[in-house]
């Protein structure tokens, strides 16, 4: 059975969610600039942009997060941890590409070898209400990256915009708990059909023709290729592509300390900055943008597949759209696939 949520009930629905959950959804910070934020009033929620600037990962893995605070008074030391999540959470409006990315970094933060309590606690407490992508943009290539504009994996509920209402699919156990939600009504056959049409149209728009098969193996042989020197040339070495990437997950831990108190904070970090790999001695094993650009591409298309058996890119297109110099990772992928390797000469 499928459900629908009338748009006139949308705000009351959000209001009711907020009684039980902390609600996270896209909020517009300025015209055309939006991020996920904890919602205080349903009015703040803005689903008009097709994707936010900062990706959904931020809800689980904030750009700057206090891990614990400490204070010394006399001979007393007090340490306060911040790992607990007090209330259940809902993310609303996440796009399938961002949700794919969350599944991907789940493997890093709650993998076999290591569990990151800060991430995992938030992740466990969260229900994801995905928003099907009815208008994929031209820089999007989710269909080439094992996803798609209506990809359902990872969503607990999926909303499909029908104009006057949302069609609601309950996809997991967490999702099924919404079955008795008073704002959900049974969807009519014609609404289900119309959702199918929207899905077909959107899926057609992302053709999935980017040639990624075998890229990991090619990169195995390209560590010292002159390719990196050339491809990095126009990159100015900022961090936009890594910070706005839904799968990039590097961080740096620092102590923000005063004389008798302080806090340990972890902040997003980026392999494209020189400081990232600089050692205490001053030596930097990745001294130029060549090594740093190579690292960015290698991590996504070679190291991550080696460790987790899939490419660390979901094709959301953010790094293409927001790059100040129009570095286009699709072109990079094609060039890697077309390059002539040593053994092919």
């Amino acid at each position: 059975m499928k459900w629908k949520l009338d748009k006139k009930d949308f705000k009351p629905f959000l209001q009711s969610l907020m009684v039980e959950y902390d609600l996270f959804a896209p909020v517009q910070l300025a015209e055309g600039v939006s991020v996920y934020k904890k919602i205080d009033r349903p009015d703040e929620v803005d689903l008009s942009s097709s994707n936010t600037q900062k990706p959904t990962k931020e809800v689980f893995f904030p750009q700057s997060e206090t891990m614990f605070r400490y204070e010394k008074t006399g001979n007393q030391h007090q340490v306060t941890s911040t790992e607990e999540v007090e209330r259940k959470r809902v993310i609303l409006g996440a796009r399938p590409c961002d949700i794919q990315a969350v599944l991907l970094i789940d493997q890093v933060f709650s993998g076999k070898e290591y569990t990151d309590v800060y991430y995992v606690n938030k992740r466990k407490a969260t229900t994801i209400i995905g928003m099907a992508c009815d208008h994929p943009l031209s820089p999007c290539f989710c269909s080439s990256m094992k996803g798609g504009p209506f990809h359902r994996e990872g969503s607990d509920l999926l909303l499909i915009d029908l104009g006057e209402a949302y069609l609601v699919e309950l996809l997991t156990e967490k999702g099924m708990t919404f079955q008795k939600n008073k704002f959900f009504k049974e969807a009519l056959a014609k609404e289900i059909n119309s959702a199918k049409e929207i899905e077909e149209r959107a899926t057609k728009k992302t053709d999935g023709s980017l040639p990624v098969a075998g890229i990991e193996k090619r990169l195995d042989q390209m560590m010292e290729s002159p390719f990196w020197e050339r491809v990095q040339e126009k990159c100015i070495g900022c961090r936009i592509c890594t910070y706005l990437c839904p799968t990039c997950h590097c961080f740096d831990i620092v102590d923000e300390a005063l004389t008798n108190k302080g806090q340990r904070v972890r902040n997003w970090d980026s392999c494209l900055s020189s400081l990232y790999s600089q050692e205490t001695s001053g030596h930097n094993p990745r001294p130029t943008n060549r090594e740093r650009t190579r690292q960015r591409i290698m991590h996504k298309f070679n190291y991550f597949p080696k460790n987790f058996d899939r490419i660390a890119c979901v094709g959301c297109g953010r790094c293409i759209i927001y790059c100040p110099v129009n570095f286009d990772i699709r072109q990079t992928i094609k060039e890697i696939q077309n390059s002539i390797l040593q053994n092919e000469k």
Partner: protein, 342 residues
């Protein structure tokens, strides 16, 4: 804004009309001349590489292009989307002879960098382009509903097309703020000019935006600044896009002494933007590259333009206009005004 825009414009209405009529022609001619010059420089081995612009992979975009062989020169283009200040690349190319495509503002950055002895003599060959002002791609995107899939220019129009629409926009209504007020469009320093010098006039008064902003109360101004800087994600794109930001270690990255933390607290974000702007005093050409690079669309040039204006008022100095006069903050004279010390 309209009234002052009108006053300035009516003075130059004839110049503007002539310019609009010749836009198409001059863009094509400039592009051809850039390619010609690039071929000549490369074939004579006068330079190791040319940095210019190539076709972007998205509508309304061009992309910096690095060219080393004759065959590639036909990839060089010129249009209203060549928005980057390419002189920012020179810092990592000190061992090469570079042919660089520069607009008026970019050439000013080069002069400012020369004062700071960033180049060896004869290291650069500047291909100067009299600039027709650049189009603000975000402004265009916001003006139409739906995704723009194709865009091109025709005379004084920008024609944008999507799946089910075609819209014709007036180019002049979609220029970058820094370009609207520009009065140095013809490169002051260039080894060759690939186009006729343009008549220098602003479409809005250069510091009009700042003047309007200054009329607000200190509280309102601070609120605006707080709101703008709060969006910062510390990606450093403004710093990296700026040709004047080349410190071996930026104050942001220094850990000893540590000037600021690495998080997103308002005081750190505000501190960063104020210090970055102050470091540009008397050095900023007002090219707007910082603002164009910002993915969060922070109005960064409010700060830098205010400082540019102050430097003009206090020292009668504009960055990169004069290759002889040293920038006021890197020199002193006994007769300098000393009011600020009192």
């Amino acid at each position: 804004m309209l009234s002052s825009e009108f006053v300035v414009r009516s003075k130059h209405i004839n110049a503007l009309n002539t310019e609009l009529k010749t836009l198409n022609f001059s863009r094509a001619m400039i592009q051809e001349k850039i390619r010609e010059k690039a071929r000549e420089l490369l074939s004579k081995k006068a330079v190791d590489l040319i940095i210019g612009f190539g076709e972007g992979s998205l509508p309304l975009r061009a992309t910096p292009l690095f060219i080393r062989s004759l065959e590639e020169t036909d990839r060089l283009i010129w249009n209203s989307f060549c928005e980057n200040n390419l002189s920012t690349y020179l810092h990592k190319l000190s061992q090469f002879k570079v042919g660089l495509v520069v607009k008026g503002c970019d050439a000013r950055s080069i002069i400012a960098l020369s004062h700071e002895k960033r180049f060896k003599p004869d290291q650069l060959f500047l291909i100067g382009v009299p600039c027709q002002r650049m189009v603000d791609r975000r402004r265009v995107k916001k003006a139409v509903k739906g995704e723009i899939l194709r865009a091109h220019e025709q005379g004084d129009q920008i024609i944008v097309e999507g799946e089910d629409f075609k819209t014709i926009l007036k180019r002049e209504d979609f220029l970058y703020p820094s370009c609207q007020g520009c009065i140095h469009r013809t490169p002051i320093k260039a080894d060759v000019l690939v186009g006729d010098p343009v008549e220098e006039f602003p479409l809005i008064e250069t510091y009009h935006e700042i003047e309007e902003f200054e009329k607000k109360s200190p509280e309102e101004r601070w609120k605006f600044f707080e709101k703008e800087s709060s969006r910062c994600i510390r990606c450093d794109a403004c710093r990296e896009a700026c040709p004047m930001c080349y410190c071996a270690e930026c104050f942001v990255d220094s850990s000893n002494p540590k000037w600021m933390e690495k998080g997103l607290s308002p005081q750190d974000l505000e501190f960063y933007h104020i210090v970055r702007a102050y470091h540009q005093t008397g050095r900023c050409s007002g090219c707007g590259a910082c603002e164009r690079a910002c993915p969060m669309e922070i109005r960064l040039t409010y700060l830098t333009q205010k400082l540019n204006w102050d430097v003009k008022e206090l020292f009668d100095f504009e960055t990169g206009i004069d290759a002889e006069t040293p920038p006021p903050l890197s020199t002193y004279e006994i007769e300098d005004k000393q009011e600020f010390i009192k």
